[in-house]
């Protein structure tokens, strides 16, 4: 393995659109960095701030949540609820010194395998660029 | 404007997809023909900001110095005298001499913003004086800015000089703040529109004078002692009517005047026909051979048997009256501002 910083990224994907989008990236054999590990939830609206905090607490360097596009939510508007929850969560992790840019929410539909791969690649590179969360390595 | 001019907004839009917009607009004729009346904008099913595009294209011309001489002169005059009529700013409040109008610096509930044309044009000064008399009669506490009043910038923005517009807007907002102005009443729908919709960061209420007069009548603060036994029709100015939805207050004022019989032209309210006085057209010579819209409009008024063609916009008044004068129609029809009719009936 290289000397380069390899971040740990936790992904939360909703079952109906973005988890299917991630599967499609697989069936289409698209490539993206292996740093992300996806946890399936039924709806992005299920992602509680405590999940995000737990991920950072356990050593994640970034958290990526993917949901259905607005209007496409299987549960009508769970994705929009997630957007709202994550707005405050982002502020919270900023206050905690983690940095709000380590949490990202993206809309990926079941047909957007390539978008999923692009989003993951971009986010991984972004987190790699940010480096480890300050103080973490010393702790 | 397709009917009278070669100007075709769609052609401009399509051509600028893959060509430099400046080049397209430099090579084409007709960009100065648009009156910015917004009839097309209001009807566009796809919500294309046609008027905005015209102003944007004109700004490319202005930036490159490619402007017709009369427009250049008007722009220059605004820079020097703060009005497009090439008259000194020192003479701005001459119209009000002897009327005893309070300066806003003395404090007042309402700022009466006169506007360049009513301040300098002899014909329109009558309208400004009429408004003062109406407000005095109703006991409204108002003041004017006197020589400190500067152009609102509406027309200059439509002629494409967005830079001067922004400068004027900032300066005016500063002045309004200085005198703690909370409410402005304008003579012109053009000033009204720009204050209401184009002054960013403004913190005051704006009314067109017809709105104020209508509410004064409703509150019983104005009463009429004279009859005007005339058949009157009302021409909706584009900037008051179709652009700002003010259709009823002017009509309410007219129908409150004893004796007046209000008749409607076919093209009334949203359907009103532009007089061609907007969008800087007051300063461009018309070169087309077709009939001027103002002429068609006067014809429409006469067709419904109107003895008086009433309006509530300085530009409409000038363009329509010009048709009556040049066409020798003074015996058949008279063009008047609503304020003049109200004053006459007081």
């Amino acid at each position: 393995m290289s000397e380069e910083f390899e971040p740990n990224i936790v992904g939360f994907a909703c079952n109906w659109c973005s988890y299917a989008g991630a599967d499609l990236a697989g069936t289409s054999r698209m490539k993206y960095p292996p740093n992300i590990r996806i946890i399936r939830v039924m709806c992005s609206g299920r992602v509680s701030p405590s999940f995000v905090l737990k991920a950072f607490q356990m050593g994640a360097d970034g958290v990526l949540i993917t949901g259905c596009h607005p209007g496409d939510c299987h549960y009508i508007a769970g994705n929009l609820k997630c957007e709202k929850t994550m707005e405050t969560t982002r502020k919270l992790i900023d206050v905690l010194g983690i940095g709000e840019e380590r949490l990202r929410l993206e809309w990926v539909s079941a047909s957007e395998g390539s978008k999923f791969a692009d989003v993951v690649t971009d986010f991984t590179n972004h987190i790699r660029g940010l480096g480890p969360i300050l103080g973490k390595s010393q702790g | 404007m397709l009917r009278k001019s070669h100007f075709n907004i769609r052609k401009f839009i399509y051509d600028t997809f893959d060509k430099d917009a400046a080049k397209v607009v430099f090579e084409r004729e007709g960009i100065w023909d648009c009156t910015t009346c917004s009839a097309c904008l209001k009807k566009c099913p796809k919500g294309v900001d046609t008027t905005g595009i015209v102003m944007g294209l004109r700004s490319l011309m202005v930036e490159d110095g490619r402007i017709p001489p009369p427009i250049r002169d008007a722009l220059k005059s605004i820079a020097i005298h703060k009005n497009p009529w090439k008259i000194s700013a020192e003479e701005r409040s001459k119209w009000a001499e002897g009327l005893g109008v309070k300066n806003i610096s003395e404090g007042a509930d309402i700022l009466y913003y006169v506007g360049c044309t009513p301040a300098y044009d002899a014909r329109l000064q009558k309208v400004a004086r009429a408004i003062v008399e109406i407000l005095n009669r109703a006991g409204v506490d108002f003041g004017i800015l006197g020589n400190e009043e500067g152009c609102c910038g509406s027309e200059i923005r439509r002629m494409g000089d967005v830079w001067t517009f922004e400068y004027l807007a900032e300066e005016n907002i500063e002045i309004f703040k200085k005198y703690n102005v909370k409410k402005i009443v304008t003579t012109s729908p053009h000033c009204y529109n720009t204050f209401k919709n184009e002054y960013k960061g403004a913190n005051f209420e704006v009314q067109h004078y017809t709105e104020l007069v209508a509410s004064l009548i409703e509150e019983g603060r104005l009463s009429f002692t004279h009859q005007i036994d005339k058949t009157v029709t009302y021409h909706d100015p584009c900037f008051l009517g179709k652009q700002n939805g003010i259709f009823d207050p002017p009509r309410k004022v007219l129908t409150s005047i004893p004796g007046i019989k209000l008749v409607e032209m076919d093209r009334a309210r949203e359907r009103s026909l532009c007089c061609e006085g907007g969008g800087g057209r007051m300063w461009v010579e018309s070169e087309d051979s077709e009939d001027r819209l103002a002429k068609i409009r006067v014809g429409e008024a006469m067709d419904v048997g109107a003895q008086i063609l009433a309006t509530s916009c300085p530009f409409c008044l000038l363009t329509l009256e010009d048709v009556v004068k040049t066409g020798d129609l003074e015996e058949s029809i008279k063009v008047m501002d609503i304020a003049e009719l109200v004053k006459e009936a007081l």
Binding site: D23, A25, I39, R40, M42, P49, A60, G71, I76, K81 | -
Partner: protein, 657 residues
């Protein structure tokens, strides 16, 4: 709760070489075998094959496994397979967790080291979660064999007949005095030119005669509660002031009415007049009269001559001014929403002069004018004169952001072509012009019909009409021919506006009543635009016709049959499985704040007063869809999402990093 020891079996699939070529399966197997509670860790070439499944079943029995992890492809692929596998071996199907090491690992990564390390983490997370999973019981609820159909246009008629023919009871609720809807108002139908009434009337009569259909006309649904299988519905039957059982439909009351010919006929959209007692149209179903209370002198003023003329004229003593509204309560298993559409009000486009000029008509007004059952018996006359020049304007209120309707109404291009054809047929010398933006002739036989109409001499000009003004006693239509870039002026004696389809005025209230949502265009929202086009997000409620979006008659009938079929499927089985992975409330922890009630799109949680002043949330399993939004907002942590509990997900997070 059982406290039996957790015994996990982990099975790592090679998927031929799909996984094994990128992931070192042996290493994953060995690492995982070290984890606590893992009794068995195996790899196998194809886990989904019979021998693969048999391996799992045997281990469960022989080694007493009670939790299973399969690391293979996406759970979206084979979760149902392996759930059944473990169920066959006597385990609860929810004691399974899958790790997706194919689609989300071996197929998207190339570096074997990284991919293997990631696979270990993914499987560890699955092991962590499976240890905390709880067995869940699958639930079913009964579905009553009765359906409610709201709206008696062609969509509601078709759905009712299909459901009733299958042997289920149908309550068809129609707001107007007669069923038939907009289709009854049309003259001919495009592109085949069948007479609308001729194909609709037999179906209306069938509804009336069908032993399984109970028609509640002149009635409105005012309340809906419950859920799939057991909806409770309240319907308001408005008083007709005429006894249905006595009225023979003879029409003597209408003849005698003192207001005869003075009231605008809704059916003729203002083109004709009627009396206070009225039957909307001659072939109405039910064929009974109704007294219009808003215009009745006796009802509004308490006096109609010496005594109401209709009452005196009725030989069967059917007039009854004492009638009161009645509330009918129904219990149904499924609901079909077929509430139809309104016509765009062309007054919102003042440039066309609709409402100002008598010779500018809406599309529907023209239908009444040209219909042989209409006020002119089908003679096309305006002010007693036959028009010589007729202009049609397309896209009035459709595809138009200036009035807030971005969508295409899908019927206007074709109905305009049909109307032009009808004029051509009756007045061959009339000059016909159609102004259009684009022509959409997408249905079977539509393009052919459009071509036929053009060949008949109808002139199509591409361009939106800018204004219509008066010119003498005629109209001047002004536009730009956008193909030529030239202005066009056309004088006309008649202008027909192709007014589009808009949502019903009360669509919002009806949506709230049924708890179904709407798409941005304002129409009711289907569950999935392609795969579930007749379902709503609420189980047991289905959509038919223009309530869901603009549609022509063939599409409406097809969708109505689809909605009927969906409803019948549920009722035929008599039972429906409800979501197992639902939210549940720990009533001891719940403090009754109501955040869950606010956040739920389906109305599953409800605050119940358990003691005076003490509220506790209760979640109805049959309504809950299992999205988990309530568990996120619950401030006291009282709500947990079965199968996706906080501790289950948190354990996954800890294991995955």
């Amino acid at each position: 709760m059982e406290t039996a020891e957790i015994r996990i079996g982990v099975y790592i699939c090679h998927c031929g070489i799909n996984i094994a070529s990128t992931v070192d399966v042996d290493r994953v197997r060995d690492s995982i075998s070290q984890l606590p509670n893992v009794i068995v860790s195996r790899d196998f070439k194809y886990m989904c094959s019979d021998p693969g499944q048999e391996l799992v079943r045997r281990d469960i029995k022989e080694k007493g496994l009670n939790r299973i992890v399969v690391a293979s492809c996406s759970p979206r692929m084979h979760e149902p397979t392996f759930r059944m596998t473990i169920q066959q071996a006597g385990l609860n199907p929810y004691c399974l967790e899958m790790a997706n090491i194919r689609e989300q690992c071996s197929w998207v990564h190339e570096d074997r080291e990284y991919a293997t390390a990631k696979a270990v983490k993914l499987v560890s997370a699955a092991v962590a979660k499976v240890s905390l999973l709880e067995p869940l019981e699958e639930k079913e609820v009964e579905v009553r064999p009765e359906a409610l159909v709201i709206g008696g246009g062609i969509a509601g008629i078709q759905a009712s007949l299909d459901i009733a023919d299958a042997g289920f009871k149908v309550y068809l609720v129609e707001r107007e005095p007669s069923i038939g809807g907009h289709m009854a108002q049309l003259d001919k139908t495009f592109p085949t030119l069948d007479c609308s009434a001729c194909i609709l009337t037999p179906r209306m009569v069938e509804v009336e005669r069908h032993p399984n259909i109970e028609l509640l006309s002149y009635s409105e649904v005012i309340d809906v509660s419950g859920y799939i299988g057991n909806f409770h519905v309240k319907v308001r039957k408005k008083p007709r002031y005429i006894a249905m059982d006595k009225c023979t439909g003879c029409g003597m009351c209408a003849e005698a009415c003192r207001m005869k010919g003075k009231i605008i006929s809704e059916f003729d959209v203002g083109m004709g007049k009627r009396s206070v007692p009225y039957i909307p149209f001659p072939y109405a179903v039910p064929s009974k009269y109704t007294i219009d209370p808003e215009n009745c002198l006796f009802i509004t003023k308490g006096k109609c001559g010496k005594s109401p003329a209709c009452k005196d004229a009725c030989s069967s003593d059917a007039i009854d001014f004492e009638q009161k509204e009645e509330i009918v309560e129904l219990d149904v298993g499924t609901i079909v929403v077929a509430t139809g559409f309104d016509l765009f009000d062309a007054r919102e486009k003042p440039e066309y002069g609709y409402g100002l000029y008598d010779n500018v008509l809406s599309g529907l007004e023209f239908e009444r004018l040209v219909s042989s059952s209409g006020p002119t018996q089908g003679k096309i006359v305006i002010d007693d004169k036959e028009p010589r020049d007729v202009v049609f304007v397309q896209c009035v209120g459709s595809r138009d952001k200036s009035v807030g309707n971005e969508y295409c109404s899908r019927v206007c291009c074709m109905y305009t072509a049909k109307q032009a054809h009808l004029i051509h047929e009756k007045l061959p010398d009339a000059k016909l012009t159609v102004f259009y933006i684009d022509i959409r002739a997408f249905g079977k036989g539509y393009e052919e019909f459009y071509d036929r109409v053009r060949e008949e001499g109808v002139r199509y000009i591409r361009g939106n009409v800018s204004e219509i003004i008066k010119k003498g006693d005629r109209l001047l239509v002004m536009a730009e021919d956008t193909l030529l870039g030239e202005p066009v002026d056309i004088e006309a004696d008649l202008v027909v506006l192709a007014t589009g389809i808009v949502p019903r005025k009360d669509v919002k209230e009806v949506g709230n009543l049924l708890k179904i949502s709407r798409s941005p265009d304002g129409f009711f929202l289907e569950s999935h635009p392609k795969m579930r086009p007749v379902d709503t997000a609420t189980d047991g409620i289905y959509l038919a016709g223009c309530a869901q979006g603009p549609k022509d008659i063939p599409d409406t009938v097809a969708q109505a049959k689809g909605a009927a079929s969906s409803a019948m499927t549920k009722m035929a089985r008599g039972k429906v499985k409800v979501e197992v992975t639902t939210a549940s409330v720990d009533t001891f922890v719940c403090r009754g704040c109501g955040r869950c009630v606010e956040v739920c799109e389906y109305g599953a949680p409800n605050l119940e007063e358990v003691e005076p002043g003490i509220f506790v949330s209760q979640i109805n399993d049959s309504i809950c869809k299992g999205c988990g939004a309530c568990s996120v907002v619950c401030p006291s942590g009282a709500i947990s999402m079965k199968h996706f509990k906080n501790e289950q997900i948190l354990s996954q997070i800890a294991a995955v990093i």
